[in-house]
Structure formats: structure tokens, C-alpha cells
């Protein structure tokens, strides 16, 4: 529903009231901010050039060093994010295909074999399906912080020691590949049944059906949800600080340790994150619009996902996984 159906377009009187009201409100907010935010901060000396100088004043002795460090940190953040995204896309796709395959396998009755073998095979496929389901539910339900923490603490316990980057990427991959697998699976299951039947009718094997028919369409429908999951991954790399991976926040902490200016540093880092993530979300919107247009001109049925998926999509774009 578009916004404007809820109310009339404001007339001249309403517009005047709005204008006056917002000017008054802005002044009130500014006065409030002066007394409750600016004054306390100023008394603490938070606006002094001593704290801000290294971040905004190019002539400051620390300026280039600080920004070089932030650059390194952001590079590390992006590297962890890219690695995590790539590996969770691959693992997630494999997991989605595996779950679809296992589901069709449980429906098979294995006729034409000896009875014990039949029971064995059916039991095995049921067991495997249940096992993957269990793993997906567990790792989807665990906080990603906890997953990263367990990976970083647990691997050395078993004698495997890797770099913190690897721990972070593994932790993020475990969580996000499961989420991506669920996105793709619901995309494939939401496709019209005719797609699968037609593929079977021309003699494609189940694996070919998934690979050639279902998966490409699922990727296409679910692309916006996938991109917003990528934003989530980028945000979640900031959790690397708990295992002391040198990403942006950790670098920020080091800078604060030397220069003792927490508020300016966090403001700068926050702005950096907002800029990058906001452009990614805009990209997601653009892709969504682009896809809708593409489908229309191709004269195919509308690309609107089925209701269940639309709800999941809404949930995806609103849930952050949040940091998770």
C-alpha cells in the first residue's frame, strides 16, 4: 500500500502549520541538545581538538597514522566479509541442494530390491534427512557471537590452531551458510510444481532438475534476500573483536588506547559502517527493481514470490540476524 492512500495531500493551511511546527520543534530540540548533550560533552572536553584532531585535522601529527590504521582495519573487515560471503554462498548452496535431494530420497521406495536392503536404504535416507534438519535448526538457533566464540575456543581444544581470520570466517560461514541454505530451499520449494514435473517429464535426473531448473530460479527470486544477508555478514564481521581479530573496531580500540578519544573514534567508525551498508542496501533495492522490470518485459508470469516466501523475505530484510 502506498503511503498517500492513508491521508489527504496536505493543503496550504496544513503545510503552513507543518512548517511552523517543524521550525519550533527544531529550535526546541536544538536547545535541548545544547543543554543535555553539548554542555555535558563540552564540560568533559569531548569537543577539544586534542581528541578530534587526529581524526579530522590533516596537519595533526597522528592524522596519517590513524587513518592508515583505520584503513588497514577496514581492509581486514572487508576481507573477512568477502571470504565469509563467498564460502557461505558455496556451502549454503550445497546444503540447500543436499536437503532437497534428501527430501526427494525419503519419498523413494527403492522397489525391486531385497526387502532388508529396501528398509536399510529408506532408514538411511530418513536418518540423513533428520540429521541435516537437526544441524540446520541448531546452527540457525545459536547466536553468531557464540558460534564464533566456540570455534575460536573449541578448535585449539582439539589441537587445531589457525589464524583469527580463519576462526572468524569459519564461525560466520557456519551460521550464514545455514541461513542462505534456508533462503534458497524455501525459494526452490516455493516454485510452481510444474517446473519440477516438466523437468522430470523431459527425463532430467533429480540432481539435474535441481541444478538446471530449480536453483537458478531460486537464486533469482531470492536475490534481494541474499543481498540483505550479505549486509548482515558485513555487520557481523565486527564481532571479530571478541576473538581479537584486527578489524575496524579492534583498530578503533587500539587507537583509543593510545589517544584516549572513544567518542570521536566510534563516531567515525559508525559513519563508515553506515555509508558502506547503506549503499549495499540501496544496491539490493536497485536489483529488486531491476529484476521486477526484467520479468515483466519477458512476458512471463509475475515474479512475485508466493505469500509464504514474501513473508520470509520481509522477515529477512527486517531481521538482521542480526548482528545478527
Amino acid at each position: 500500500m502506498s503511503q498517500s492512500v492513508l491521508y489527504d495531500v496536505p493543503g496550504p493551511r496544513q503545510r503552513r502549520i507543518t512548517l511552523i511546527g517543524s521550525i519550533v520543534a527544531t529550535i526546541a530540540v536544538l536547545i535541548g541538545a545544547y543543554f543535555f548533550v553539548y554542555r555535558p560533552l563540552d564540560e568533559n572536553g569531548q569537543f577539544s581538538m586534542e581528541l578530534w584532531g587526529p581524526l579530522i585535522d590533516p596537519s595533526n601529527e597522528n592524522f596519517s597514522l590513524v587513518w592508515e590504521r583505520i584503513g588497514i582495519g577496514f581492509g581486514n573487515t572487508l576481507m573477512a566479509a568477502v571470504l565469509a560471503i563467498a564460502s557461505s554462498l558455496v556451502v549454503g548452496t550445497l546444503l540447500a541442494v543436499l536437503r532437497i535431494q534428501l527430501k526427494s530420497l525419503t519419498a523413494r521406495r527403492f522397489t525391486g530390491m531385497a526387502a532388508p536392503v529396501t528398509y536399510l536404504l529408506r532408514g538411511l535416507s530418513l536418518f540423513l534427512a533428520a540429521l541435516t534438519r537437526f544441524c540446520v535448526e541448531v546452527f540457525r538457533g545459536l547466536p553468531v557471537v557464540i558460534t564464533i566464540f566456540f570455534v575460536a575456543r573449541g578448535f585449539p581444544e582439539f589441537g587445531i590452531s589457525l589464524s583469527t581470520l580463519t576462526y572468524l570466517v569459519i564461525g560466520l560461514t557456519i551460521y550464514n551458510s545455514v541461513v542462505i541454505a534456508e533462503i534458497l530451499r524455501s525459494g526452490m520449494e516455493g516454485l510452481p510444481g510444474g517446473q519440477r514435473e516438466a523437468a522430470a517429464a523431459i527425463g532430467l535426473s533429480p540432481l539435474q532438475t535441481t541444478g538446471l531448473i530449480l536453483l537458478p530460479q531460486a537464486f533469482r527470486i531470492m536475490l534481494p534476500a541474499l543481498i540483505s544477508q550479505l549486509v548482515v555478514v558485513l555487520k557481523d564481521t565486527s564481532l571479530g573483536f571478541i576473538i581479537s581479530y584486527e578489524e575496524t573496531l579492534n583498530i578503533g580500540k587500539q587507537i583509543i588506547g593510545v589517544l584516549n578519544n572513544p567518542i570521536p573514534v566510534y563516531i567515525v567508525i559508525g559513519v563508515l559502517f553506515i555509508v558502506v551498508n547503506y549503499s549495499l542496501s540501496k544496491l539490493a533495492q536497485y536489483v529488486q527493481g531491476r529484476l521486477a522490470r526484467g520479468r515483466k518485459t519477458a512476458d512471463t508470469p509475475t515474479a512475485a514470490p508466493p505469500p509464504a516466501i514474501a513473508a520470509a523475505l520481509g522477515a529477512q530484510s527486517t531481521a538482521q540476524s542480526g548482528a545478527s
Binding site: 492513508l6 540476524s321 548482528a323
Partner: protein
């Protein structure tokens, strides 16, 4: 495995503290998110701009950064978040009233962050109501408030339940972060404490902590799946 039995009170205490912060943050985020959602669909353009700015800001910041802001910014403002020491409420949620402010800081960060997502969930519900409903209400002469109150919101509620539920699940999972921001005794901090400081075996502790979180998230997720399926059939 004996740590699971010996330290059961630690696990139970951690679970209870995490549950407390989740309950309080959910209530706070639902209220704040509803306010921001109203701002975002209000007829007054400046209010809409404020709502949009809020959502864009908090949706694109990592929760970690929000937590740091709460933990460093509020003390610099000279506040210990004492306004959250609500009499009566702090009798049940004892951490609200303690002198160490970290529980309150974490709560504020979690509420601010989650409210942005709650707002989007509510708004997606409003957008799911067919435009004809609001148009019909308008043509009957209902005002903006009446329109929302009697026509749009009762219908949008249905479409918002599932997205809202996933936001709450995400929030429960995000609450694991508070243990790394000075809140002592929640599930994630207990994991750290038991494995590194007290040197218990890793695997049983991991299992115990995981069960603690899964008890909260998995049933909620299953419930949402059911609601979603039923709605899909009803439509």
C-alpha cells in the same frame, strides 16, 4: 560432562539473566519500534524524515558499535541510565537497580538497535494491507488516526506477526553480545568464565550454553513456522 551437573546453577542463572534482558529489550523495542513506525507513516513530512533517518542509521550500524556508544557515550553525557531504575520493576529484574550500569547500557543499546527492525516489520505489515481498504475508509470520511485505528492496523497485525517474530528471535541471539560488554553472569559471559577462567572442559560447557539459547530460539521459530503455514493456507 560433570560440569553440566556441578555448575547447573551457573547455567540456570545465565539462562535467567539472558531471559530477563530479552524480555525487557523486547518490550522496549516493541514500544519504541511502534512509535518510529507511526512516525514513518505519519502525514507530516519532517516526522517521516526523522523516522527514516532513525531506521537507516540503526539498521546499518553493527550492534557492536551501538553497544560501544552506549557504554562510552552515556557516561560522557554524565548519565548512568538511572532512569531505568524503575521502582517495582527492579524488584523482579534485579539487575536494573544495581550500581554497575552495564546491564542498563546493554539494554538501551539492544532496544535502540532492535526498534529499527521492529519498525520495518510493522511497516511491512501495513504495506501488505490492500490499498483499497484504506481508500474505502478515506472515502467514508475517516481521518488518518481513525483509518489506522479501525481499518488498517487490525488487518496489518496479521501480516506483521511473522516478521516481528523473526525480529525477536534475532534479538534473542543478539543479546549474546551483552556478555562481552561487561554484563556479568549471562549465558555468553558464563561460557567465557567457565572455559577460560575456571578451566572446565570445553565441549560440555558449549553444549550447556547452546541448549540455553536453543530453548529460547527453536520453539519460537517452530511456532512462527506454524503461524506462517496457517496464514498461507488461509489466504
Amino acid at each position: 560432562m560433570s560440569v553440566l551437573i556441578d555448575k547447573f546453577d551457573v547455567f540456570a542463572g545465565g539462562f535467567w539473566l539472558t531471559l530477563q534482558i530479552c524480555l525487557l529489550a523486547a518490550i522496549g523495542a516493541l514500544i519504541l519500534g511502534a512509535i518510529v513506525a507511526v512516525l514513518r507513516i505519519s502525514p507530516v513530512p519532517p516526522l517521516r524524515a526523522v523516522g527514516t533517518a532513525y531506521v537507516n542509521m540503526f539498521r546499518n550500524l553493527p550492534l557492536t558499535v551501538v553497544m560501544f556508544f552506549a557504554a562510552f557515550g552515556l557516561p560522557a553525557l554524565g548519565s548512568n541510565a538511572d532512569f531505568l531504575r524503575i521502582p517495582g520493576l527492579d524488584a523482579i529484574f534485579s539487575r536494573l537497580g544495581t550500581d554497575l550500569p552495564y546491564f542498563r547500557f546493554a539494554l538501551i543499546a539492544l532496544v535502540l538497535y532492535t526498534a529499527a527492525f521492529v519498525c520495518e516489520a510493522l511497516r511491512s505489515g501495513v504495506n501488505a494491507v490492500p490499498a483499497g481498504q484504506a481508500e474505502a475508509a478515506r472515502s467514508l470520511g475517516l481521518t488518518f488516526t481513525q483509518n489506522l485505528r479501525y481499518v488498517v492496523l487490525p488487518q496489518s497485525w496479521k501480516a506483521s506477526v511473522v516478521p516481528l517474530g523473526s525480529v525477536i528471535i534475532a534479538m534473542i541471539k543478539n543479546s549474546a553480545l551483552v556478555g562481552f560488554f561487561g554484563v556479568v553472569g549471562d549465558l555468553s559471559q558464563s561460557a567465557d568464565q567457565l572455559t577460560s577462567a575456571e578451566g572446565h572442559a570445553f565441549v560440555p560447557v558449549a553444549i550447556g550454553i547452546s541448549i540455553g539459547y536453543l530453548i529460547m530460539t527453536v520453539p519460537l521459530g517452530a511456532l512462527l513456522d506454524r503461524i506462517e503455514k496457517r496464514q498461507a493456507v488461509a489466504r
